[in-house]
Amino acid sequence: MTTDTTGAIPPVGETDDDLIQLLTPEGERVHHEAYTPRIDDLDRAALEGLYRDMVLVRRFDSEATSLQRHGELGLWPPSLGQEAAQVGSGRALAPQDYVFPSYRELGVAWTRGVDLHQVLHQFRGEDHGGWDPAAHNFHLYALVIGSHTLHATGYAMGIQRDGDVGTGDPDRDRAAVVYFGDGATAQGDVNEALTFAAVNDAPVVFYCQNNHWAISEPTTRQSRVPLSHRGQGFGVPSVRVDGNDVLACYAVTAEALERAHSGGGPTFIEAVTYRMGAHTTSDDPTRYRTRADEEVWRRRDPIERLATLLRAEGSGEEFFTALEAEAEAFGEGVRDYCRAIPVPPDSRMFENVYATENAQVSAEREWFTEYQEGFDTEEAAG
């Protein structure tokens, strides 16, 4: 990658001719014959809504990162820099679409109505999940890379069997959407998922956030071709989009969903973005990338560019000031919430291992309960 910290913001890479962009890093609209009509429904209030989404998600993310630094969370995967890729796509979904996230999808969770505080539970070590997937059509985070692309594909096969594609009813037609990273494309499961989706015409959208890094390994260690070519190789229509352009992410996802909803099958989206923070808080990006590279991407910030557009199109400073105050209040509550998450009861360990009574679990639970009660008895006696 060329590092240019003085002149115009450089393009994303050498194969960017096919990169869909509707909003430049300088905050100017770009007309695209196929995709601009997809954002016609986004009036200024909607654009302000997308901006608010991104600002609040970033604020929450930065608080969570700080909480980990203070020892309140065991780990945190920052989503700094990927807000547009997540919010833009998430806002294009219908309520009845079902999302299978990876583990960095804070912005998508937000668009699905998940109370972001619930996401903290997993990283504080209180839960393996934290929210009710069915209540938000947002599945639990998947930590085994790429495993959930198959779950999404299977879910989409279920949608087909339920007859919920191609009905023409916008409240009924639905799809599965799976989020994963550039590293995941190297996994066998992702390739099997693309195969199953393609041969079944499954209504599933593969949304790959190419954030350039799989922990310390650059995308060039995962693939010799642009990742969107992977989809094409399986016969899945594929598109590359500027992942820091919230409007383009919205538009390409809307198109992919229209294809899925109408019975047109799967789509592969490569959202080219950049993970500005560490992979997780246990990672040290200074060991494998330069500040100069980070600076290039900082100048493509997804939030800044939308702010420029909003100002140009008439959003007043009162909007920004009010949002700043809202974000401040939102952030302040995060610490208190996090610290108040209780340690789960011991018995939690044995709950829901099976949906049915299981002799093995019952016996061990009984033994452990008696063992614990023995300490209480000793204490009382002592």
Partner: protein, 339 residues
Amino acid sequence: MTATAPAPANQRLAMAKAINLGLRRAMERDAKVLLMGEDIGALGGVFRVTDGLQKDFGGDRVVDTPLAESGIVGTAIGLAVAGYRPVCEIQFDGFIFPAFNQITTQLAKMHYRSRGRVQVPVVIRVPYGGGIGAVEHHSESPEALFAHTAGLRVVSPANPSDAFTMIQQAIACPDPVLFLEPKSRYWDKADVEVSAAEQVLDADAGLNQARIVRPGTDVTLAAYGPSVATALRAASAAEAEGHSLEVVDLRSISPIDFDTLTESVRRTGRLVVVHEAPVFFGAGAEIAARVSQECFYHLEAPVARVGGFHAPYPVAKLEHDYLPDLDRVLHAVDGVLAH
């Protein structure tokens, strides 16, 4: 869907046919049940267990999948999340390992990590075990690897009647079930009470329970799947020598019905565990440890184990030496009786 022709209460069926009939019953009963696997459609599976089902239920319910085991189980998980009850067929035991990750890290744990909000009632059928003269990776017994994983049930029928019942119980069960079909017994025939199916669907009532299939007084033989027939033959042979052997068919490997087993051992005072899987770290190790702990004062001899060796499953010409046969079981019985 075609209606099932009126059938007599009892039919003499081979195990493969009994499972086929059980699958048919489950599919007729619940439109959310679907089968998926390699070659299970027009071919009816390489063992013909799904013979005729695609013809009757269509390609959407009997799905010929791409040749990708992780894909089969992984998409089954998604289908289950969407409200379906997928029954996967893995073509052979040795080919389950590409799906190992999906089974152990995803399928087994989704209910737990969702704190009960998500159920994944997936059944994975696997023709397993040796004795049919196959090439490598076609004769293995990987049950211990899966029994070690919390969240999965692991079961194996030993006869056609149980196979017919247990496959329906497994499908009705809200937990994921690894259903190990003893391929060497696929062609064994027995009377199957096909009219009883409706009464046995309560998975909790039956799928967990071991069964004493032959009462005896001197030694307990514990076995499951393909080894039950071997144990029964050994018991018959021992009778001729004046020894009374009790045979317990465990049926479920996870969980294990220790109550039935320990009651038997307390009566006989001696236990020999028989399975095809390697003895080292096998199901017999768990059983021996547990029975030694719980029946220590009733045991007249150390628990003996008979099974496979700590070697890859051998070539077909040597598998008769690897598999526990009548003589090795009787040798172990002699050993525990010598105490």
